[in-house]
């Protein structure tokens, strides 16, 4: 992160290294507890503590903590209402969990010396694959084989169908890829850039003030992006869900 010491590795990419904390192997599969898993555990605990203790009193006139907890609830609830409608309410727990998990992960990554688990493609792809498979199953369950009408837009002339259908299928298959790639690329690029700029600070001596200012600005930008990417991930999940639910 921004202020990784000189004694450590100088590579801007070293921050993404997976380190085993508790080596573990079950049936020939490496399931070690890593720093990534630790960051996820911290995120889950942090979000749980934030919500459970924020709402513990459940006061009518909320305190600051409760306001923030309620705001995050309402934010996701409104997002689902606006993008999916009433039918989307039963998927609220999943989307809320997804949003909070990604958001917490992005924010935990902003703490120096911590680890950003959303900067690993396999993590974001795992999340996106769950969304993609889930949405596809919901679409099938709701529409049956009518689901395949997804791939032939209304009003396409028959002689173009052979071209349009593969394109639509590819477009559909690209959903989880773009969903995961966007989060991964933003987090990785942002954190790498911060580290690169931070590396200039000591090297340049007095002139290092310039990259220092830049790092401060980038830190703010990264916090915006941390929120924005969690938001985009959640809203795209809503949009995909809406497509699967309200298809003709």
């Amino acid at each position: 992160m921004a202020d990784a010491g000189a004694g450590e590795s100088h590579s801007p990419l070293a921050q993404f290294m997976i380190k085993k904390i508790i080596p573990l192997e079950i049936g020939g599969v490496d399931v070690s507890y890593t720093n990534s898993a630790l960051a996820m555990t911290v995120a889950v605990i942090a979000v749980s503590v934030f919500l459970i203790f924020g709402m513990r009193r459940g006061a009518l006139v909320p305190g600051r903590w409760q306001v923030v907890a309620e705001m995050s609830y309402e934010f996701v609830a409104n997002m689902i209402r606006d993008n999916v409608g009433q039918e989307g309410r039963r998927y609220f727990p999943f989307i809320f969990t997804l949003f909070m998990f990604i958001f917490a992960g992005n924010l935990i990554g902003m703490i120096p010396y911590s680890f950003t688990y959303t900067s690993h493609l396999i993590v974001t792809f795992g999340l996106a694959a769950v969304v993609f498979i889930g949405v596809t199953i919901i679409g099938f369950a709701k529409h049956g084989f009518h689901f395949f009408h997804f791939f032939l837009p209304h009003g396409v002339p028959w002689f173009l169908a052979w071209l349009i259908i593969p394109i639509e299928i590819l477009s559909y298959l690209s959903r989880p890829v773009s969903l995961s790639l966007r989060l991964f690329a933003n987090m990785t690029a942002g954190h790498t850039m911060m580290k690169v700029f931070a590396g200039f600070i000591f090297v340049l001596g007095v002139a290092g003030v310039a990259p220092l200012v830049m790092v401060v600005a980038l830190t703010g930008l990264e916090i915006i992006i941390a929120f924005l990417q969690a938001y985009v991930f959640a809203i795209l999940t809503c949009v995909y869900l809406n497509d699967a639910l309200h298809m003709h």
Binding site: N83, H149, F150, P153, S171, S174, V177, S178, H246, M247
Partner: protein, 128 residues
């Protein structure tokens, strides 16, 4: 933090908020949804999205092409075909992203919905 300090600044903030609300008559008061990331993020979000949509669809196309080649032993023809199909799908995604279809790389859209609300945060789509 003295006792006097918060109240003038809060009043000032209140006045500024009211002025800001007046300047935006299109937003009704009941639409007070906490942070509105669309204002900060709409442009940035779209900008970050376009390139990735293009690359993702192309990557999927190339991946599918390579897989089909591997199964059917038709190297390199499926790769060539699906490279172009993938880039077409990428353009389709980008076109949909920027032409008011919202965030969706959507398929068959509800026409009434498209007319009604090109933006997010309008009316919730009624079930069809």
């Amino acid at each position: 933090m003295t006792d006097e300090k918060p109240s003038p600044s809060l009043e000032d903030l209140d006045a500024r908020l009211r002025r800001a609300h007046e300047r935006r008559p299109d937003r009704s008061a009941d639409e007070d949804q906490g942070p509105n990331p669309n204002s900060v993020g709409a442009g940035l979000g779209i900008a970050l999205r376009i390139g990735i949509e293009l690359v993702a669809a192309l990557a999927v196309g190339v991946g599918v092409g390579l897989l089909l080649d591997y199964w059917l032993n038709t190297r390199p023809w499926m790769l060539v075909v699906f490279f172009f199909l993938g880039s077409a799908a990428g353009f389709l995604n980008v076109y949909r992203a920027v032409s008011g279809y919202g965030y969706a790389a959507g398929y068959r859209r509800d026409e009434s919905r498209d007319k009604k609300s090109p933006q997010q945060h309008e009316t919730p789509p009624d079930g069809d």
